[in-house]
Point group: C2
Chain length 644, copies 2
């Protein structure tokens, strides 16, 4: 068959394809930037493109994401459209372009980081007080003589013992074959990299010529199901040098962890999933080192924090038994592994350490987050609510910790909603409705492109307060100038096309609201069941930490108003952003912290909600804004009553 | 050029070769068994073959190893003879056949071994008292349930903690990828292999299906310059299951460590030397497992003991700076290394541990020997004299240890002597000369093939006592019926051709005796200098341990008589055979012992004889039987005087 010529606009990029190939696949292969959240399943509606010319075939799956007008204009979903013959010309509109690098990585816990050490503190005889997982030491060895004839390796040990308080030193065998030549051709000057995961048994993993101490970097990685964030950290100074984020390329194999597990455990799917996450991280690494002006080989170690499935997939461990009862992972505490063996770039001897998990559905992202919030460290009762593709809840203090997981879905990350998007440039993050008018703010003050988590929360709270929807999420004011009905579904237009970047309206539909209510209901119900099993209630929580990529302007009142957070005194509520990343960074910067997080993971008691008799009732009761039992939300009730 | 057809007799094996190829190389390539000690340098005379037919060219190097009669009959050295054209027929006479498997491996220290544990001692809750470097544990895990939902790895840890007293458990990452499937398809029954080199930090390196506890073997290897000996040990029972020995195939690259170092450090010679020793060991391993009826995969760990150069070559570390002042090895204590990475057969995850060295010329064979003899353990002063290709001496007790190395050469191992051979079948190991008649015994009661170490010692002592040679080693009785002069060199015929296996005479020449005197002189001088530097004399030695492959019937009186051992009370002298192998086995059977040997190595003080002002004078003074200062050997003097 004749190949098809495909031109992508506005890039004017022309490529060849086989008849029958999908537009999304062609774009992915040729490096053309097309958004895609569901992995080409036709269920996210994010890959809308316009066929300008030529013969194509749209399967029709996901047609609900396109309006009649759009269909008439030639819009299709790239993942559901095949090119057929001749010359095909495709327009990728602005809203369908990925903007990976612009994902906001709110990390509100950075201020809690303690500096590892200032350069001037690096004096002989002491390790850095907080031992980063890799430390570099410079040695200038005296040339051997007949009277001082220690072996090359023992000469290094002798020097290191003066610089460190390490009780014993061990060496990775791979350092030895080149050692003799290297020392002699470099004037006996070398830099030794110690790995300190086993604090009492530091291992020399790298011995390289000259003084490379200044180039000692680590990378903390939040390995999210939807989004992956990597932070480049100067391990000498304890400072964050850069941060990059990207969609997890695994998304092409399924939007959520369940569909990825099914893929991984059939048709030899483990390797593609592993490669997808590794490639995603490697792309971030390349950008990080380029922007920081360092080399990939300056990256000496990694700490990854992800949910249990993501951690298994990153390490190439089969996640098949995580999915089905009794939900058993291969491991919850993970041995260190040479990063190159996993496929990560960086120094060839660099090590990947993964944050420990508690169970199949409470992973390393959560244990890292508990540490970052300090819940394990205080006598007061704290709760961590991490809203990602799943919702996880931890409650406890310095004596005990319990946790559970709720299938919240990715609604607050923009998934499954018509104009939902992640907290990137152009996302509406703040909304007010006053006197029939809508005021909104976007991230980066850009033209509106969609609604991120905080924007969705604001929208729901404002729509109830403006009596446009009721507390069940149904539209009750169909006459409002911003309300319209599209194909029988009412929706509220936040920004009309004339003022958006895309020229398309940004709206929230009744279906979107229903999804969001299910998400927040799953989380609140889980927290309530967990507290009740401890004989406690919301009022017993001294601190509530909300983690997740909501956007920068999350509003406490509104978050309580919709019932995502319990109605507790406002000063008890802390928005902590990406607590997983913060915990990973803390572990990277201190072996003690890494071990503390491992001990936190062992301490945490997991509650399996799927078999809890009360959970389903509580879930149904929470499908209301804020909740069917209004007495649980006295301040919200008071406010609504005061408005009459 | 037309290839040459070469037929080897008596095997009747016909092969093709290139014109100009050496007979020894053709034989090596085609697996035809031809002896060779010097590595094809023409300096050992062990590869004599007879050209029966065809055109060949003998370079003439090493012609001194052939008598005129032999030359007339067509004998040549295989390493110095090229095949030229047509059909060449070569006879390999019996004395030129390797009999690798028959090398005696006198290991007189086996009786000191303590059994690791009897099978019935293996009960839950205790490690084996003396921890072998690898131990196997069987687990039958309860199937997980929602109430008992530990991860696969944690289930194993939980079971192991009941069986062992290990404070912490760690796992090699490579165990994890297949773990989930393996446990589920094998009814949750598995055998876990722990590696215990770091006693407080045991590592799980292998998790395999079913109960394989019974198959837990290790191999102790004496990595000698000339001979390699491997002992297969049942790590459960602490019993030796088999032993095999072989010429070190590195010999083709040079007879002694110096020439091998030169080869290794030029022309990319490290890899061939490493491969040669690894292949030698692998051949032994295959024979060991075949005879024991086990699989190569049942070998879980290795302990190698060799001199510093041999250890470097085995591990693939460049030995280049060992050779030249100030004689610096890459390392003296060696990290554990995955045996497969070195090239050794055995379980893919098996580990090679190398015995620690002291310096470039006192290696792991000696530290292992010190432990095996127990010198480090007693207040009395002990001396270990290890006579191999080099001679090493250690003196000390439980408070201090000093050591040195003497370039003794391989004369007592059969090198550089006309009819010298190692202690294998057919070696004359015992000689008496009475009333002009010669009585001798051979190993295995076979027809004589040559003289091993104890035979050479006996010959020298008897020749002096019978006044056939003088104390300087010169022949004085040329009329003795067993004495004759061959090409101007007098020699003593121990066994005439009519009673030998080969039909050739077995004799010791004046040149042989001169070589042997140099060897023993180097060793005795070294011991004297070492003692004097401590303010001590031979009389201060409470125990003298003589190690080396001399043969089974070493005679104390004669060993003193020739001046290889000092003239101390006879009960102080102990022939310990292969103490290096014994020490390696003890280390294999106990991590505590391995660590003790590492600490012994750190304790030992090395004396560099090459720069010692007295050494050369002492060496010259020792070139006499037993010594020019007869007052040092009062009992020998008394005996000689009593005979008038």
């Amino acid at each position: 068959m004749e190949p098809v010529k495909v031109t992508f606009q506005p890039d004017r990029k022309t490529v060849q394809a086989q008849p029958g190939e999908k537009v999304l696949e062609i774009a992915a292969r040729e490096g053309v930037n097309v958004n895609n959240l569901c992995g080409g399943q036709g269920v996210c509606g994010k890959c809308r493109v316009k066929v300008l010319e030529g013969k194509t075939r749209f399967t029709g799956k996901g047609v609900g994401y396109l309006s009649r007008k759009e269909l008439e204009e030639g819009y299709v979903l790239a993942c559901q459209t095949e090119v057929l013959e001749g010359h095909v010309e495709i327009l990728i509109p602005p809203e369908s372009r990925k903007e990976d690098e612009q994902i906001l990585t709110t990390d509100r816990l950075m201020e809690y980081d303690e500096p590892v050490a200032l350069e001037e503190e690096r004096r002989p005889g002491v390790f850095l007080k907080r031992q980063p997982l890799s430390q570099k030491f410079y040695v200038e060895l005296p040339e051997p003589t007949l009277d001082d004839n220690l072996s090359d390796l023992e000469r290094i040990y002798r020097d290191l013992r003066k610089q460190t308080s390490a009780p014993t030193l061990q060496t990775y065998f791979g350092c030895l074959p080149e050692l003799a030549s290297m020392l002699r051709s470099n004037d006996w000057k070398a830099t030794v990299t110690l790995y300190l995961r086993e604090m009492d048994h530091p291992h020399i993993r790298v011995i390289e010529p000259g003084d490379t101490r200044a180039r000692n970097y680590g990378v903390a990685i939040d390995v999210g199901t939807t989004t992956i964030v990597a932070q480049l950290v100067d391990l000498n100074k304890g400072e964050v040098v850069g941060v990059e984020a990207s969609h997890n390329r695994q998304a092409r194999y399924g939007e959520d962890v369940i569909s990825r597990m099914i893929f991984a455990c059939s048709r030899k799917g483990l390797d593609p999933l592993k490669n997808a996450v590794v490639n995603t991280i490697n792309t971030l690494l390349k950008t990080l080192v380029e922007k920081a002006g360092i080399d990939l080989e300056d990256i000496m170690c990694f700490v990854g924090a992800g949910n249990t499935t993501m951690t298994h997939l990153l390490l190439g461990l089969e996640p098949c038994h995580i999915r089905l009862a009794p939900y058993i992972p291969t491991a919850t505490q993970f041995p260190a592994v040479q990063a190159h063996n996993v496929g990560l770039m960086g120094h060839p001897q660099s090590i990947l350490h993964c944050m420990p998990c508690v169970s199949s559905y409470v992973g390393g992202d959560i244990t890292a987050g508990v540490f970052a919030c300090g819940i394990h460290d205080r006598p007061e009762i704290g709760a961590l609510i991490d809203v990602g593709t799943n919702g996880e809840i931890v409650i406890g203090n310095n004596e005990w910790l319990v946790c559970c997981s709720a299938s919240a879905g990715p609604a607050f990350e923009g998934g499954g909603t018509k104009c939902g998007m992640r907290a990137t440039r152009g996302a509406v993050e703040k909304i007010n409705i006053r006197d029939g008018k809508v005021f909104y703010e976007t991230i980066g003050k850009a033209g509106a492109r969609g609604l991120c988590g905080s924007g969705l929360i604001d929208a729901m709270a404002e729509l109830v307060q403006a009596r446009i929807i009721d507390q069940g999420g149904s539209f009750i004011d169909l006459d409002h100038p911003h309300v319209r009905v599209v194909e029988d579904v009412p929706e509220f237009v936040v920004a009309f096309g004339e003022e958006t970047e895309t020229g398309e309206d940004v709206a929230i539909t009744e279906d979107d609201i229903s999804n969001l209510i299910k998400s927040k209901g799953a989380i609140l119900a889980a927290m309530k069941v967990l507290l009740e099993s401890l004989g406690m209630g919301f009022e017993d929580l001294d601190h509530v930490y909300l983690a997740g990529g909501f956007g920068t302007h999350l509003n406490v009142e509104r978050t309580i108003f919709i019932g995502l957070l319990p109605d507790v005194p406002r000063e008890r509520i802390h928005f902590v952003g990406n607590s997983s990343l913060a915990g990973a960074r803390r572990g990277l910067l201190s072996a003690q912290v890494f071990h503390k997080i491992e001990s936190i993971a062992r301490t945490m008691t997991y509650f399996e909600l799927s078999v809890h008799p009360d959970y389903m009732n509580e879930f149904v009761a929470a499908l209301f804004l804020p909740h069917t039992q209004m007495e649980l939300f006295p301040s919200v009730r008071a406010m609504l009553e005061s408005r009459g």
